[in-house]
């Protein structure tokens, strides 16, 4: 899960936030649009999380403007 960092302009989130009231949803606030990257890696949960964090740091996210959070989704089927 990759999100625009706090304090960084999020034009996408703003656009969605401004569009929702027109559809009748006028109590929605703090909309942020980020990216969701899902992948399968082998290994136990601890090492997988560490490796994916490393991938985020190096490729998947842009640490200058994005923050990331890695969630393990359990073993692949």
């Amino acid at each position: 899960m990759i999100r625009p960092k706090e304090g960084i302009l999020d034009p996408q989130g703003q656009a969605v936030e401004r569009a929702l009231p027109a559809l009748g949803y006028d109590d929605v606030a703090h909309v942020h649009v980020g990216r969701l990257i899902e992948l399968e890696v082998g290994g136990d949960e601890r090492t997988v999380t560490a490796r994916v964090e490393e991938m985020c740091e190096r490729l998947l996210a842009n640490p200058l403007i994005e923050s990331y959070e890695v969630q393990a989704a359990g073993a692949a089927p």
Partner: protein, 228 residues
């Protein structure tokens, strides 16, 4: 008297003036803008949703524009059989609004692509292609990031079977990876037509080609017949 064509202007529109110029350069047509906040079409005989990046294309191309106030009137106009043309971003809006089948996805290259392409007219059963020859080839530019037309297989078959594919990229020139080389589709009745190529950027030899006039010319003839 010229037929009136409304050119819808969303915030973030880019090619609305180009559409206006193209329409006004077509004998028998006269264009005026329809701002996104309008609730009626001001007597337009046909509507164009032009290219650009409505609402920045944030979220998904065309997704937010589809809810602009003017779209209610456009949808109603389309349901009543009025001619509606969506070019590029306009095509995306029409798909998002459910007026056209399928959806537009990010190009296979993931990149914006701006180039002249050749498309063949597959169906002349729309007000925008009625003056073309079946199979006629047109040289027009494309310029988009999100132009890969897609429909689930069953829907795609239906669309083909009903003759709703209006334009296809010539062999080996598909710029975005669209399904079955589709460049433009119409609704079942043929009155709503969306295409990725920018016909409005092909109306003057000086700036590239005049093949886009085949589409605008068809519309002019169609409108003069129905309004006569």
């Amino acid at each position: 008297m010229s037929a009136r064509v409304g050119v819808v202007v969303f915030p973030g529109a880019c090619d609305e003036e180009d559409a206006l110029i193209a329409v006004n350069g077509t004998p028998g047509l006269e264009a005026r803008y329809l701002p996104h906040g309008e609730r009626d079409l001001k007597g337009a005989d046909a509507v164009i949703l032009p290219g650009g990046f409505s609402y920045g294309d944030y979220l998904r191309a065309g997704a937010i524009a589809r809810f602009a106030p003017v779209m209610e009137a456009v949808i109603e106009f389309a349901r009543e059989g009025g001619p509606v043309l969506g070019i590029c971003n306009g095509f995306q809006v029409l798909c998002e609004a459910g007026l056209l089948p399928g959806a537009l996805l990010v190009n296979e290259s993931l990149k914006f692509v701006c180039r002249q392409v050749v498309v063949a007219v597959d169906s002349t059963a729309t007000p925008f292609t009625s003056g073309c020859e079946p199979g006629e080839q047109l040289s027009v530019p494309v310029k988009h990031t999100t132009g890969r037309w897609f429909a689930p297989p069953k829907l795609a078959d239906q669309v083909e079977a009903a003759g709703q594919v209006v334009l296809r990229y010539a062999a080996d020139t598909n710029p975005n990876g669209s399904l079955r080389d589709v460049a433009g589709v119409a609704n079942e009745d043929g009155n709503v037509f969306g295409l990725m190529p920018h016909a409005e950027h092909a109306v003057d030899e000086l700036t590239g080609s005049t093949d886009g006039l085949r589409l605008f010319g068809s519309l002019a003839r169609h409108l003069s017949a129905v309004t006569a």
